[in-house]
């Protein structure tokens, strides 16, 4: 990992050896660019790059690419998320070329939540490719200048390629191997699912480090601050693959309701501090779901401000 492959700020931060901070911006259900700008204002100066979700939880939102562009205009280095659920290989490659042409430097390849739990369960899904195949396709576009069908591109998309991994999904024993597949396919960085169960994350990281993956891919640990006991319970019971330990819920229950948010921020900061010490972790991915106003407090509290100028 010597020279820079792209113009990505995230790539520069990581390759310069800084502990990276990425944030997340969920686009609105509407054609309102101000909603993106408002979230952007809250993240300004706090993150090295900002992910823009692609119809997260299979709910219709403003497109990730359009939202990325709004954030780019504000000076951010956006991470375009693309899910395999809604687009086939023709559309994905087309969007990748378009994104690169518009100056998007980072791409996160995802499978995508099934539409059954979304707002259009009657929809037909695509899943032409899976996330691993998508990673390999993008890497080939960037490094070989070829489409999936082997035909040459007139210009290569210079993208810093990301993957996601959920250390808490099952079966646990293949989760680090799945990451290895993603790295072999072309992932430059990986952002994990929200971490609440730190011992389990440590165990996963140990396996990741044992097979040397931390030297091949930048690993950003997913952090989501808990607003309330209700949110913690919701994540635990309603969101598949989410592992929220009971101790955490008990801790939030131990404070009065109006103080639970404050406690959630405190927990997030403590987690970042603990995760920072885990060998092989190169940064955090802070997903403050509809709670972007707390991002500065958390990043500052964890001693991660100011962000490096690279």
């Amino acid at each position: 990992m010597s020279k820079f492959k792209t113009n990505s700020r995230l790539e520069r931060v990581l390759k310069s050896g800084y502990f990276a901070v990425t944030g997340e911006c969920g686009p609105p259900r509407g054609a309102d660019p101000e909603a993106i700008r408002e979230k952007g204002e809250l993240l300004k100066g706090c993150v090295d790059a900002v992910n823009v979700t692609d119809c997260q939880t299979a709910v219709v939102r403003m497109s990730s690419l359009a939202s990325c562009l709004i954030l780019k205009e504000m000076g951010f280095d956006p991470v375009l998320q693309i899910v395999a659920r809604d687009r086939n290989r023709i559309a994905i490659q087309s969007d990748i070329l378009g994104a690169a042409a518009l100056g998007i430097n980072n791409l996160l390849c995802l499978t995508g939540d099934h539409q059954k739990a979304g707002d259009h369960p009657q929809a037909k899904n695509v899943f032409d490719l899976d996330s691993i195949q998508m990673l390999a396709m993008v890497k080939r576009m960037r490094d070989e200048g070829k489409l999936l069908n082997g035909e040459d591109l007139t210009r290569r998309p210079q993208l810093f390629i990301g993957a996601a991994e959920n250390p808490f999904a099952d079966p646990f024993e293949i989760r680090h191997i799945r990451l290895a597949k993603k790295v072999a396919a072309g992932a430059d960085f990986v952002q994990t699912q929200c971490i609440f169960n730190i011992p389990k994350f440590k165990e996963w990281m140990k396996r990741v480090v044992d097979i040397g993956l931390h030297e091949k891919v930048f690993i950003l640990a997913g952090i989501t601050p808990l607003k309330s006991v209700g949110m913690a319970r919701y994540l635990k019971t309603m969101v598949p693959g989410m592992d929220v330990p009971d101790e955490l819920i008990e801790r939030l229950k131990g404070v009065p309701k109006e103080k639970q948010g404050e406690e959630g921020v405190k927990i997030a900061i403590e987690m970042i501090e603990e995760i920072r010490e885990i060998p092989g972790v190169h940064g955090i991915h802070l997903m403050a779901i509809e709670w972007e106003e707390k991002v500065r407090e958390i990043v500052e509290g964890a001693g991660l401000l100011p962000r490096p100028q690279v």
Binding site: I132, A169, I174
Partner: protein
Amino acid sequence: MVVGEQKPLEEILKMIEPFDRLIIAGCKGCVAVCAAGGEREVRFLASAVRTARKAQGREIEIREVTLERQCDPEYVEQIRGFVYDYQAILSLACGVGVQYLAEHYGRIPALPGINTTFVGGAEKQGVWSEKCQCCGNCVLHLTGGICPITRCSKSLLNGPCGGSSNGRCEIDPQVTCGWQLILERLKELEQMDRYLEIIPPKDWSQSRDGGPRKIIREDLLR
């Protein structure tokens, strides 16, 4: 086999509402095995329709017939002798059978009495489940004999997504994660190294995405 499920009686009654002389045609193939459209189901449905129409004060004449197979021109021809004495055929065969009847008897509407649901098999008495999507390019040798296209809700070829939890799929805790099954089976077969290989993007042109499919066997043509 092709597994189907009878449509709700209300839907059937609405479909046949314009008609007073009807053939209900069952099939002794797959749909008889999965108890959706065999001889027995024809009899029960005919009786239910007669009763309902009688209650509406508009009796209906129904001819009950169950063909050997509705997906074979030879058997579909067997009703030619009387088919034009009726106004419509309600087929309890799969979608193939309905289309065969429609193609053979131009002037007579062929109506679907069942919903053709999937290609699968019986789990136990009264329970059937989907096993094959007819993708046209079988990969079962790579995945421990368990189909990722069918059994994984997202048809993933390279392992379970992040929504797999305790062996269950994110779409429904009643649904088993297909990849959990595949991995267990690969372990049992001592083929876990298979999982390390990246399976490349699938050629869906051999699936329905390539348009309606046809097989021509020159050796069998006469």
